[in-house]
């Protein structure tokens, strides 16, 4: 198990390097020149342009710039921001560093139990009116885009009812709407999956056996059926997590939350490449770590899929 984990972590480092390389190449293809964006109206001044280009090291060969960037990641500054002249990237993003991951983690922590419970609830009521109604709501939850949902909830709860703030960050009350928006789609998705897996599992022989033995229905559902449902569900949670992280981009912009997602968008528009690249890297690291944890959990839950099966 430990050997497996170590090998996976080494693999991740390679993934991160490729992510850095790809983002570095990608920003070279983005139309627009950061120095021209910086100069704006004053781009008629070639002396100033040359001076700035040299100051930011953009006059050197690409591979030198890339090595430079790797060095800046290693020393923890992530280079200098273009937009906030002279400020290290780490200082620009420091305030938002934990916000998007926390939002995503809180949302998944709510979405998983909620979605699983809902899924079980409807699975054992298959083809009743309750099943149909819940499924209908779930489909709506997946289909309505989060920005539309956000606009509706803000109008209802903030402007009309005055219960929660429209936007902002810092107070617990300011978390309610953004987290709700983030929670709805994964909850709906997980509930639908749980229902499907559950229905499949409930038809298995061992469930019939359990029932025949006279095991109480509650135990049949939770001990025998649900546990076997969790294994395939777990893999999808990793994927759902990626969706949640990108969901924070939209939610942070709408609710004016100073997290990495909003910063990424602002930095793209401002051609602040060092900030964009650093945020992409951080999201990659975070996402890959979550998936590593899920894979390890998976192996723990289902002994059959441990790769180093020879040890057991």
């Amino acid at each position: 198990m430990v050997g497996y984990a170590m090998r996976r972590i080494l693999g991740l480092v390679a993934v991160w390097f490729i992510a850095v390389l790809l983002t570095f190449i990608a920003v070279q293809f983005v139309p627009g020149d950061p120095i021209l964006a910086l100069l704006s109206d004053r781009s008629g001044d070639p002396v100033l342009e040359a001076r700035l280009r040299a100051e930011y090291g953009l006059d050197r060969a690409l591979w030198v710039q890339f090595l430079d960037y790797l060095g800046n990641i290693a020393n923890g500054t992530f280079g200098l921001s273009f937009r906030f002249a002279g400020t290290p990237v780490i200082d620009v993003i420091a305030g938002g560093l934990t916000i998007s991951p926390v939002l995503a983690l809180v949302s998944i922590a709510i979405a998983v139990p909620l979605g699983v419970s809902l899924g079980v609830f409807v699975a054992i009521r298959q083809n009743t009116w309750a099943d149909t109604l819940v499924i209908l709501i779930l489909v709506a939850g997946i289909s309505v885009p989060n920005f539309a949902m956000a606009a509706f909830l803000v109008y209802l709860f903030s402007i009309k009812l005055g219960l929660v703030p429209v936007a902002g960050w810092g107070g617990a009350d300011q978390l309610i709407l953004p987290v709700t928006i983030l929670v709805i789609p994964p909850t709906a998705y997980i509930a639908r999956l749980t229902r499907t897996y559950m229905l499949e599992v409930l038809q298995q022989d061992y469930i019939r056996t359990a029932r025949a033995k006279g095991v109480r229905e509650r135990l049949v559902i939770y001990r025998h059926a649900l546990r076997n449902t969790l294994v395939p569900l777990l893999t999808t949670i990793g994927i759902i997590f990626g969706g949640l992280l990108s969901g924070t981009f939209v939610v942070e912009t709408i609710f004016n939350i100073p997290g990495l997602g909003r910063m990424a968008i602002e930095s793209i528009f401002a051609r602040d490449y060092p900030v964009t690249m650093s945020i992409v890297l951080l999201f990659t690291v975070f996402y890959s770590l979550i998936n590593l944890i899920i894979d390890l959990l998976y192996a723990a839950l289902d002994p059959r899929i441990r790769l180093d099966a020879g040890e057991s």
Partner: protein
């Protein structure tokens, strides 16, 4: 089988949290929006709009503006031109205190100018106003840090010498700073301390969230009527309006995307404030890039082939009005008597036929180019010019930075663009956008008589005669159809009824020292 209940985690949590709603901000503080973080909060590198909105509450120059947009004395109480017209002697205001408690004196002005010019400091917008001072080049080239042409005669008298006359120097919007600040707080003082004389002191900048200012009680023009100002960073215009509706903002400067909603919604009746922007807009026709533009009849035909009133209503939701010259109302030197430019498709067709292109036949293809925010404008121009003149126009949307560079280099043939005034005088528009040698003369229109009038006006201190020169020059530009003036944008803001003393002028908001908040 009733044991299965859907957990009500969210519902319970929401209720619990909703009961602990906090109310941020004290009662007497003004909360307003900015749509992005400022790029900087120091007066030396200052080079963009949002920073300017904040810094103008912290720093002051020789003069300020009143609510009618007139120039009024601020840190200078008076000035007199030298006999040779090559400079000024300024009398500085006595008894002015910096936020640090130190007295404001002539040496602080000299220090500010030198800091703007020293190469390593990356002097921003305000450094351009110093180019004509004796010795400015030596400081810019790093040969010295002492600006020879500026002398502190005594604590409150300052002498400035130029290499060539610059009668507008006293009205340039400088931000004078405390010369003792670096010694006290170090080179990175800007996010830790406040170095101005203005009505508000810098308190904190929480990146992505807000910039906070507090009242400067010893302000020379009386203590501000609020405890402070909070500029909340709200990138989405719609979110800003929603926050205003929910009472989380007291004052909102509307962005282009929300103006339509604000103007139409009855609930904002009595809460809207509007003022024209000090920004000319024009359709640039570069004669060096498109042969037919060399013919004045073609230029005129283009300029009368679109409907400025329809643009104001349709494209800008009513938050604009037609512009017939290249100076906007509210800027000194504006000529209110200019002849309206008609929308006259028949004459336009006739002119184009006379120029040898009947129905657009024989015209080479041309692109009308601009950036993403102007895409509706170029689509309108292209469709009008095709419909009315049969001109083979295509639209082209490009990235901003490279577009500006190409326009500066005179390589864009046909483009709608704008220019915002940095100080309240028509010379800003005329000398920067239409004066031959200007680096921002993007359509490369050039006229010797026009240039001579501009040069003369730069030497003419008397306002009445100077404005007459502007009007004459502007008429030459218009008579030659060197430009198509299009529209002036209307600024729209929302102000809660409990807020008073807000002044929206063509140069955005005045400093907030007169603002009172009685929530």
């Amino acid at each position: 089988m009733r044991v299965y209940t859907v957990p009500t985690i969210i519902g319970a949590a929401s209720l619990a949290l909703a009961t602990m709603i906090s109310s941020p901000g004290s009662a007497a503080e003004l909360r307003t929006n900015i749509n992005a973080d400022p790029s900087m909060v120091d007066p030396i590198t200052y080079s963009e709009l949002i920073s300017g909105d904040i810094l103008m509450n912290i720093y002051e120059g020789f003069v300020g503006l009143d609510k009618d947009g007139n120039v009024v004395p601020a840190l200078a109480t008076g000035w007199k031109a030298h006999d040779d017209n090559l400079g000024f002697r300024f009398e500085l205001r006595k008894g002015v205190k910096f936020h640090s408690g130190r007295d404001f004196t002539a040496k602080d002005v000299k220090y500010t100018f030198e800091q703007l010019l020293i190469p390593g400091n990356k002097g921003g917008l305000n450094s351009e106003y110093l180019d004509g001072i004796v010795g400015a080049d030596a400081v810019k080239e790093g040969k010295t840090t002492t600006l020879e042409g500026v002398k502190a005669v005594d604590e409150h008298t300052l002498d400035v010498r130029f290499t060539s006359p610059d009668v507008l120097f006293p009205i340039y919007p400088f931000f004078f700073m405390d010369s003792g600040i670096v010694a006290e707080h170090g080179a990175d003082w800007a996010t830790k301390a406040s170095a101005g004389t203005g009505p508000f002191k810098f308190v904190a900048w929480k990146r992505g969230q807000e910039v906070q200012l507090a009242a400067h009680k010893d302000y020379w023009d009386g203590s501000p009527k609020t405890e402070g100002v909070r500029f909340l960073v709200v990138p989405s215009g719609d979110t800003a309006v929603s926050m205003y509706e929910a009472g989380e903002l007291d004052l909102v400067y509307a962005d282009q995307g929300t103006i339509r909603r604000i103007l139409k919604d009855d609930q904002f009746e009595g809460q809207r404030i509007t003022a024209p922007a000090a920004q000319i807009r024009y359709l640039g026709m570069n004669q060096t890039q498109y042969e037919p533009f060399k013919d004045i009849r073609v230029r005129q035909a283009v300029c009368i082939a679109f409907d400025r009133d329809a643009m104001a209503k349709g494209l800008y939701g009513g938050a604009a009005f037609p512009l017939y010259g290249q100076v906007t109302p509210g800027v000194a030197g504006y000529n209110p008597d200019l002849k309206p430019i008609p929308y006259d498709p028949d004459t336009a067709k006739k002119l184009l036929a006379e120029a040898g292109y009947p129905g657009g036949k024989g015209l080479p293809p041309i692109k009308v180019t601009s950036t993403e925010p102007n895409k509706n404008d170029i689509a309108y121009f292209a469709s009008q010019l095709k419909d009315v003149l049969g001109m083979p126009v295509e639209v082209e949307v490009v990235e901003r930075g490279s577009h500006i560079k190409k326009m500066n280099a005179g390589e864009v043939a046909f483009f709608p663009w704008g220019w915002s005034a940095g100080y309240p005088d028509a010379l800003y528009f005329l000398s920067q956008v239409w004066y031959g040698p200007s680096k921002y003369n993007r359509s490369r229109w050039q006229n010797d008589d026009f240039d001579k009038l501009i040069e003369e006006s730069q030497k003419t201190a008397d306002e009445k005669s100077r404005y007459a020169l502007y009007n004459k020059a502007e008429q030459i530009l218009l008579d030659d159809w060197g430009t198509c003036p299009t529209t002036v944008r209307m600024q729209v803001a929302l102000k809660k009824p409990y807020v008073s003393g807000v002044n929206l002028i063509p140069f955005r908001f005045l400093p907030f020292n007169e603002v009172a908040v009685n929530r």
